[in-house]
């Protein structure tokens, strides 16, 4: 075999082999561990939940809890997003007023917020059943947390008709909300279980539902355990999602390599055509 053919074959095999790397990583390495990427974001994936904790330069998704429905396991449906942009501790904004460090363990991400006089940990623990966000400090603190979702159709049984304006709801340790996913033709339920009764819970209307739940409390610690479930309403159709990419890339690689090989074998260059025309 000529050197050119050998090199071409090697390169074709090389491209196609490497295209399987994302799939192999997803299947063998990506599950049940906090993995860092980009400019410092962390993500956790288990069989039921995907959790994103954004990089230090972004105050959103701190964390963003998403679920993988049983009937569409590659899809990621947002349950609730904690925002550092709009949450405060002792009057200081989580995003703007604290130094933040992140350190992962196998199932727990330890995010430390520090500033003179305040040291606070946000522990994120993922299990197959739920995701727990735990705030812990060595002294009592006053917190205002904002949890976002576009949009919740009801919160603790209240719909937009019951609360057309921002409304304080009875304090409780259980917050249950519903939402719809039009793409998957399904309805979902999200649950937030608090370790202690807070001082205040408010819901904030937006369009045809609520887009925000705010929780205020005073304590040395508070955990919020998030879980969710979804049921299809009608017939569900396959949908495209970012997590489908590892399956698509090998197909792209094979196609592009095949086109190259065909053109290389049967295609004519401009120079070939010109020389044939001259002859």
């Amino acid at each position: 075999m000529k050197v050119k053919s050998l090199v071409t074959v090697f390169f074709a095999v090389y491209i196609i082999s490497l295209s399987f790397v994302p799939l192999v990583h997803d299947a063998l390495l990506a599950k049940n561990a906090w993995l860092g990427y980009g400019t410092g974001a962390y993500a956790f994936q288990n069989q039921n939940y995907f959790v994103l904790f954004n990089d230090p330069y972004d105050g959103s998704s701190k964390p963003h809890v998403q679920m993988n429905p049983d009937f569409a396991p590659n899809d990621r449906i947002p349950i609730i997003e904690f925002s550092d942009w709009t949450s405060w501790v002792d009057g200081f904004n989580f995003f703007n007023d604290f130094n933040v460090t992140m350190r992962p363990n196998q199932r727990t991400l330890d995010v430390t917020y520090s500033r003179p006089g305040i040291l606070l940990h946000k522990f994120l623990t993922a299990t197959p059943d739920n995701i727990t966000v735990e705030l812990v400090s060595d002294k009592e603190f006053t917190a205002h947390l904002e949890l976002w979702r576009w949009v919740m159709t009801s919160v603790n049984g209240l719909s937009i008709k019951d609360a057309p304006k921002p409304m304080q709801i009875p304090t409780t340790t259980q917050i249950e909300f519903t939402f719809q996913d039009y793409r998957l033709q399904s309805e979902g339920t999200g649950r937030i279980t608090l370790s202690r009764v807070p001082v205040q819970i408010m819901i904030w209307p937006y369009e045809n539902g609520f887009n925000k739940i705010t929780i205020d409390f005073v304590n040395t610690e508070m955990s919020l355990t998030v879980s969710g479930s979804m049921t299809p309403v009608g017939r569900t159709y396959p949908t495209w999602n970012y997590s489908d990419l590892p399956y698509v890339l090998p197909v792209v690689a094979v196609l592009v390599v095949a086109i190259y090989l065909l053109v290389d074998k049967y295609g004519k260059t401009n120079k070939d055509r010109a020389s044939r025309a001259r002859s």
């Binding site: 994302p22 990583h25 993995l35 410092g40 230090p56 460090t101 992140m102 890339l249 592009v256």
Partner: protein
Amino acid sequence: MEKRIKIVLLALAVRLAIAPFFMHAGDVGTIYESSAIALQGGNLYDFVYGKTLQMQQATGLPVFFEGYAYHPLLIYFFVPFYWLFTLIAGPYSVMIDGHYPSLPVLVYPWTPILLLMLKIPIILADVAVVYILAGIDTRKAEIYALCPYVVFISVVWGMFDAIVAVFLLTSYLTFSRNSLFSGILYGLSLMKLYTIVLLPLFVIRLFGKWKDLLQFMGGLTLTLLPVAYFLIVSPASIWNVLVTFQGTRVMGGVNLYNFIWVVQDLRFDLDISIIPSILLLVSIVLLIPKFGRKGPLLEAILAFMLASFLFGKVLNEQFLVSIFPLILLCKKCDSRLWIAPFAFIFLRSPFYYFALPILWASPVFYSYYLQADVVWRQLQAVGYLQVPMYAVGIAFSLLILWNLLRILDATSVQAVGGRGQTVGFMRRLIRVRILLGSRRHRFVP
């Protein structure tokens, strides 16, 4: 007017007309920020290293601050123009932040003037390439002068690979005439470090011609003196920025390796990024016997650079500009190679990102920006753009391979032709000797 001058003026006019209104905020922001630090006598590498340490401390990950990670001399191409700008606009910052993922705050009316001033060295480099090419072949100069890809990288993006291009081109052209000058020019082409792969080629070419080798290395060493200075005054910083960062980057770009952007696991990404580095080393070692001592220098340079583009783990959209003049001069290469990285630019970054200086000028335009950005982010979030980016990346790698194989093929034919000529010469020599021998035999008494 002489055609050569016409082409040069046309190239200049096109670039000057575009330069004030567009930029890649991250890259132009880096040059702006670095020029300011350098003018104040600050240490750029300490600044970048300090930011990197902050990021690593915050995240617990081997992440790097993407700031000034170039040859120390590079910034002095920009500093005089930045200094002139401060004489006009004053010392206050007119572009605040802009490092990914932040968007810059721009101060008007100074931003367009700043952009023009900071792009002047790039424009001059482009114009110099056009002038040199026009002296060889005006058609090739026209292609370079008006190639949308080159124009985009230089004056829309504001990336300075044209500076690498002009030094690499002149180093090649002076190589056989003035080794000292060629060495200096090659050293200056290291403004972006990827031309380092050519060093073994130049050294082996000159091996045995000791005076030329000494002159070439002397010229190169001269340009590396600032690196030596920083290695003495802040060794940890420059090592981290130039060697650790550049050497341990995650693979990706307009190449077959950008699938890694889907794998959101930095430590794994870094580990697997060793594969192309090993193959790059192997390919260079294999090319040395092929091109080290023989074959035309132009093809040899292109073979080394194309191999580094093929197996080098990072291939950014702008890198091709550096060898584009040489590709134009090479009869075996297809100059349409630029189409793939040009297409890739618009898949990786939305066009409006480059138009921030226009869009930031009015609240109306800003609202258009926000609308477009929502759509773009949705496309990005679901991964629609990753598929064409991967396809273009592979296609570009394959096109590079195709060009590399053509060069190898052509030089093999030449080598065979050369060997054939040698064989013919030897045969003729033997025939003459036989003839002489027989004559001698005939005339010996």
